[in-house]
Amino acid sequence: MSADFIVITTAILVAVPCALLGTLLVLRQMAMIGDAISHAVLPGIVFAFFISESLGALTSLIGAAVFGLLCAVLIEALKNTGRVKEDSSIGIVFTALFALGVFLISRFAGSVHLDLQHVLYGEIAFSPLNSLIIGGVNLGPISFWTLGVVTVIAVSFVLLFYKELKIATFDAGLAAAVGLSPVLVHYLLMGAVSITVVGAFDSVGAILVVAFLIAPAATAYLLTEQLWRMMALAVALGTLSAVSGYYFAAFLDVSISGMMATMTGFLFILALLFSPSHGLAAAFSRRRENRRIFSRDLLLSRIGTLGEKTTEEELARSLGWERRKISRSLDEALRGGFIVRPSSGEVAATRKGRDAARERAGSLA
C-alpha cells in the first residue's frame, strides 16, 4: 500500500461518518453541540492514554467517547437548572472540559504520548507508519481499523434508524406521538457523534473534525431538499474535500488536516454563492425578479382602485413612489400588455392587467 493511499483512505474514513452524522446535526440545529462534543472528548482521550497507553484499543476509544456523552448530559443539565441559557451552557461546559484536557496533556507530558500539536492538527501524515500487528501478523494501518469500526457504527446507525431519525428530526411532535422518545434519539445521536470524533481525533485532531462534521452537511443543505440525497451529497463533498485537501497540502507542504478543513470551507463558499436553488446569487436574481413582478402587480392594483383611467402623477402620489420607479414600472407594464397609455401621462389597465391584479389579491390570504 502506498503512503498516499493510506492517508487518503484514512481521511475518507473520517469524512464519511462525519458527513452522515453532521447532516443530522445541521438539520436539528445542533451544530454547536457537535462542536462542543468534539472538544470535550479530549480529557477522555487523555484518561484513555493513562489507562491503556495505546489509543488503538477499542475499549479506550469507547471510554473516551463517554466524555462526549457526558458533555451532552452536562449541557442539558446546566440548561435545565434554568440559571443559564443553552448557548452559555454549551460554552461553559466544552471550554472547561477542553481546558482540562489541555492541562492534563501539558502537566503529564512525560507519561502521555500526546502533544498539543496532535490535539490541533491530528497526525494523519503518520497513519502509514502505525500498523496493527497481532501475533506478528501485520493487519494493515491502525487507522483503517479504528476508523473502519467508527464508519461501520455511523453507517449502520443511520441505516438502522433512518426512519426514526427522519421523523424525530422533522416532526418531534409526531415522533413523540408514535412513541419515539426524543430523549433517546438525542442521546443515541450524541453517542454516535462522540464515537466518531474520538475515532477521528488521531487523524485530524479535536477541532478540525468540526469542519468535517458541519461544512459538507451545510453545503449539501444548500443543494438539495431530500434527507437521503443530502446525506449522500455530504458524503461526496466530504470525500472530495479530503482528497483534494491532501493533494493541495502535499503540493504546498502544509498541514494536511488543515488543508482538508479549508477545502470543506471552499466548497461551502462555492455552494453559498452559486447553488441554483439556495445560493446567494440565485436568491439575489430571484429577489429582483420577484420585486419586479410585485411592483407591477401593485401598480395594476392601484390603477384598479383609482378608477378606469388615471394619470402618472396621481399614481406616483398615491403609491408614494419616486418618479423614476413609477416610469420604469409603467414602461414595463406597457411592454407586457398590462396597461395602455391613451395619451401622455394617462394610464389605463387592460383586461390582462386587471386579471393580474385580481389574481395577486386572491393569492394573498
Binding site: 445541521v26 440545529q29 451544530a31 454547536m32 457537535g34 462542536d35 472538544h39 437548572t81 440559571r83 443559564v84 441559557k85 443553552e86 448557548d87 452559555s88 454549551i90 460554552g91 461553559i92 471550554t95 472547561a96 477542553f98 481546558a99 482540562l100 489541555v102 492541562f103 501539558s106 502537566r107 498539543l116 490541533l120 492538527y121 477541532i207 478540525l208 473534525v209 468540526v210 469542519a211 462534521l213 458541519i214 461544512a215 452537511a217 451545510a218 443543505y221 444548500l222 497540502a249 504546498l252 507542504d253 502544509v254 498541514s255 488536516s257 488543515g258 488543508m259 482538508m260 478543513a261 479549508t262 470543506t264 470551507g265 461551502f268 453559498l272 439556495h278 445560493g279 446567494l280 436568491a283
Partner: protein, 302 residues
C-alpha cells in the same frame, strides 16, 4: 504561594503578566455580559477562532511580531468571519449554529495551514505565533500590556458612555427601535467591542478557549445579582480574578499554557457561584424555599 504573591509586586515580568491578564479579564467579563444576555456567547467562540488566519496573514505580509499589527490582522479576519455568518444566516436557510460551526472550524483550519506554511518557510520570527492558540502569558511584555490597556480603555469607556443604550438594545431591541435608536448600528458596535475583547485575549488565553472568558464569568456573575450594572462589575471582577490567578499559576514555572488554567479558574468560580450565588445559587434558593414553607406553615404570609 506567598512568594508568588509577593513576586507579583516585585517581579517586573510577573507584574506585566498579571496586569495583562487582569485587563483581559475585566474587558471580556464586561462585554461577555452583553454577549451572554443576547445569547451570542458562541458567536464570540466562532470569532475568536476566526482571528487565527488574520494573525498569520499579518505576520506573512509584514514579517513583524509587533502586537498592534498582529492584533489588527486578528480583528480584520474576525470581522470577515462575522460578515460571513451574517451573509449565511441572512441569505440562506442555514441556521446560526451551523454558520458558527463552519466559520469556527474552517477559519481555524486555514489558520493551521498558514502556521505550517510559516513554519516551512523557516522564518526565524515564527516561533511566537503558536502562543495565539492556547495562550502564553509568560510572553507578555510591557509593549503588549500597553496595547491591551489602550484597547481595553477604549472599549470600557464606550460601554460606560452607552450603558443605557446597550441595556435597552439587549433587553428589548424592538422597543429601542420604536424610540429611534439605530439598533442595527448599535448591534455592529457591540459586536465590534466583543471583537476587541477577543483580540485582547488571544495572546493570553488563546483563540480556542477565548469563548470561556466571554461566557463563564458573565454566567457566574448572573448568579449573584439581578441588576445589569452590578452583573457587569461582578463579571469584570471574576474575569480579572480568573486571569490573574491563572497567569500566576502558569508563570510559577511548570511550563503550562496559560489559557487552560485561566479557563479552569473561571469554571471554578462559576461552579461556586452556581451553588453559593446570592440571587440564584442553589444554596440560597433552597434556604429561601424552606423559610417560605415554614412561614406558610405558621400561618404567616411569605
Amino acid at each position: 504561594m506567598l512568594d508568588l504573591f509577593s513576586a507579583l509586586f516585585t517581579d517586573y515580568t510577573l507584574r506585566n503578566v498579571a496586569l495583562g491578564c487582569a485587563v483581559l479579564g475585566v474587558v471580556s467579563g464586561v462585554l461577555g455580559c452583553f454577549a451572554v444576555l443576547r445569547r451570542q456567547g458562541l458567536l464570540g467562540d466562532a470569532l475568536a477562532h476566526a482571528t487565527l488566519p488574520g494573525v498569520c496573514v499579518a505576520f506573512i505580509l509584514t514579517g513583524t511580531r509587533t502586537p498592534a499589527i498582529l492584533l489588527l490582522g486578528a480583528a480584520i479576519s474576525a470581522s470577515l468571519g462575522a460578515l460571513l455568518i451574517l451573509a449565511v444566516v441572512g441569505g440562506t436557510r442555514i441556521k446560526q449554529d451551523a454558520a458558527l460551526g463552519i466559520v469556527l472550524s474552517v477559519f481555524f483550519g486555514a489558520g493551521t495551514v498558514m502556521l505550517t506554511y510559516i513554519a516551512g518557510t523557516g522564518n526565524s520570527g515564527q516561533s511566537g505565533l503558536d502562543r495565539f492558540i492556547f495562550g502564553q502569558a509568560a510572553t507578555i511584555v510591557r509593549e503588549d500590556v500597553v496595547t491591551m490597556g489602550i484597547l481595553a480603555g477604549i472599549a470600557l469607556v464606550v460601554v460606560a458612555v452607552l450603558f443605557k443604550e446597550f441595556k435597552i438594545l439587549s433587553f428589548d431591541p424592538e422597543f429601542a427601535a420604536s424610540m429611534g435608536y439605530p439598533v442595527g448600528k448599535l448591534n455592529i458596535l457591540l459586536t465590534a467591542l466583543i471583537v476587541v475583547a477577543i483580540v485582547i485575549g488571544i495572546q493570553t488565553v488563546g483563540v480556542i478557549l477565548m469563548a470561556a472568558m466571554l461566557i463563564t464569568p458573565a454566567a457566574a456573575a448572573r448568579q449573584w445579582t439581578d441588576k445589569l450594572s452590578m452583573m457587569v462589575f461582578v463579571s469584570g471582577f471574576f474575569g480579572a480574578l480568573s486571569g490573574v490567578s491563572g497567569a500566576m499559576v502558569s508563570a510559577s514555572g511548570s511550563n503550562l499554557p496559560t489559557g487552560p488554567i485561566i479557563v479552569l479558574a473561571a469554571t471554578g468560580i462559576f461552579l461556586l457561584s452556581l451553588v453559593f450565588g446570592a440571587r440564584h445559587g442553589f444554596l440560597w434558593s433552597r434556604l429561601r424555599e424552606r423559610r417560605n414553607r415554614r412561614a406558610a406553615l405558621e400561618g404567616g404570609s411569605p
